[in-house]
């Protein structure tokens, strides 16, 4: 073990450029990937806030009595798709309209604004079809005159979410694939650069395990360092942009996971390259 460690450290020292390149490569790949992930994370957050506004409004006949209304509201609130249901009285409706419409506030009076029920849809049920179904169910109440929920808005949001998720998955996979290819190629070059050394080691009686171990350790170290560097760069980018736009950063488990992922990539890349190389000769 001492020997393995010494060999690994020595090979860093002997080929600092190659080692540095490997680290940079892993860092750059993970950074690109992480930057992308950060954008996705923040996008999801913002998007979640927008989605919460998906709301069905059921306008209630003027003649409905208060008790019927209250019963209906608590019934609707128990629908599995519904997060919250709130009654809005005529007065509240007027107040809201005045607040929203500023310059025209004097022209309204309470008489012509109907009471309504506001229904918020639970997360996971915000696709157009489900919202439509809930709206239809609410419209079936006899005292409900009209139901509105911005069908276009819901559809649009749903579209965007689909597109964003799709793009995210595709780009994420692409970035990860490119990162792995690049890292594997880099490590393969380190191995090739030492091909002569490896063959000599074997000729003087080193087992494959003995030859491989320092490479694996070096790969792991390279990966961890690369992951750490990527995280640092990511944090710097975050701090820089975050000065202007409020952003959330990766949570600690994710950050640690990223470094671990770097280490794993480094280890796997080394293992694969060395294994392939040793098998051939």
């Amino acid at each position: 073990m001492r020997l393995t460690l010494r060999e690994a450290v020595m090979s860093f020292a002997r080929a600092p450029l190659l080692s540095a390149l490997s680290i940079m490569m892993i860092a750059f790949s993970l950074y690109s990937f992480g930057l992308f992930g950060l954008v996705a994370l923040n996008f999801r957050q913002r998007f979640g806030a927008v989605e919460e506004r998906i709301e069905i409004e059921a306008f209630v006949d003027d003649s409905t009595n208060v008790e019927t209304l209250a019963n209906a509201v608590s019934e609707i609130a128990r629908f599995p798709e519904v997060a919250r249901a709130l009654p809005v009285t005529k007065d509240e409706a007027l107040e809201r309209a005045r607040r929203d419409m500023g310059e025209f506030k004097d022209v309204f009076d309470a008489s012509f604004l109907p009471a309504s029920i506001k229904v918020q849809v639970r997360e996971g049920f915000r696709d157009p079809a489900t919202v439509q179904r809930v709206a239809d169910r609410i419209a079936a109440y006899a005292f409900v005159d009209d139901v509105r929920y911005g069908a276009e808005f819901v559809e649009r949001l749903h579209d965007i979410r689909n597109v964003a998720t799709g793009t995210g998955i595709v780009l994420g996979i692409a970035f990860a694939a490119v990162a792995i290819i690049i890292i594997a190629a880099t490590i393969r070059i380190t191995v090739l650069a030492r091909a002569r050394e490896i063959s000599i080691m074997r000729l003087v009686g080193a087992t494959n395990g003995f030859v491989r171990r320092p490479f694996l350790l070096e790969g792991l170290a390279t990966g961890v360092l690369g992951g750490g560097l990527a995280l640092l760069l990511l944090w710097l980018s975050f701090a820089l942009i975050g000065r202007y736009i409020p952003l959330v950063f990766l949570e600690r488990p994710m950050a640690i996971g990223g470094i671990a992922f770097g280490g794993m990539i480094g280890l796997l890349g080394s293992a694969l390259s060395v294994w392939r190389h040793l098998r051939r000769i």
Binding site: L3, E197, I200, M201, R202, V204, G205, A206, N208
Partner: protein
């Protein structure tokens, strides 16, 4: 110790480098392998330490069938051999000392004995002052002697030396030869490929002469073309 039976070796493109070669080296024997350039001497040695595999025929080294041996066993076999390569094959990024020590480290030898053994061998090949030089900082003959020291550091059962004195002057050659003689009399078999007919003549050892991939003379066997291993 070493046994070749009807061994043929064909390299891709260039054709047969060895044709139906049979011989046997006994435990503790000392044999010269001679012959013109390109006659197949290095090929025989490479087959022994398994850098190359035979196209046909059977090779046994220290009781192992070369055709069947795999993975870790190859490493274990090589540790019993001492090999001096024609082109030295020193590790460029280690000092002379570390090159010699490496052959011990792979066997898992205890760290404290390594230093003294390496020091002793450096002295024996006359390079005690060059231990911390890198191969690039050594003259041709000095590199060759480090390669010899590395082959000997393990106390091998068999020493395989490919042209180990090609870059050495007469005095150094005599010194190295003395060393090989000592090691041989302590029981190690030595198989040495050489062009130095002077050296061969001076010593009363077995001589195997190659030409065009075949054994044309063997001092222990007046009829070398008749197969010995039927």
């Amino acid at each position: 110790m070493i046994r070749f039976a009807h061994v043929t070796k064909e390299y891709p493109r260039t054709g047969a480098a060895l044709k139906d070669v049979s011989f046997r080296i006994a435990k503790g024997e000392f044999a010269f392998l001679t012959g013109p350039s390109g006659s197949g001497k290095s090929t025989i040695l490479k087959l022994i330490f398994l850098e190359e595999r035979p196209t046909a025929g059977e090779i046994r080294v220290a009781g192992m069938h070369a055709a069947k041996i795999r993975g870790k066993e190859i490493a274990l076999l090589r540790r019993k051999l001492g090999i001096v390569f024609q082109d030295f094959r020193l590790l460029e990024d280690r000092t002379a000392e570390d090159n010699i020590a490496f052959a011990l480290e792979v066997t898992g030898a205890p760290r404290d004995t390594i230093g003294t053994r390496v020091g002793r061998l450096l002295t024996q090949v006359g390079l005690a002052s060059k231990g911390t030089s890198y191969p690039k900082q050594l003259s041709g003959g000095e590199q060759q002697r480090i390669a010899i020291a590395r082959a000997l550091v393990n106390d091998p059962f068999v020493l395989i030396a490919d042209e180990p004195t090609g870059n050495l002057d007469d005095r150094a050659t005599r010194g190295i030869f003395q060393l090989l003689g000592d090691i041989n009399s302590s029981g190690t078999a030595v198989l040495m490929a050489t062009h130095d007919l002077e050296l061969v003549r001076r010593h009363e050892h077995r001589v195997i002469e190659m030409n065009r991939g075949q054994i044309v003379f063997d001092s222990t066997d007046p009829a070398p073309r008749a197969a010995q291993e039927r």
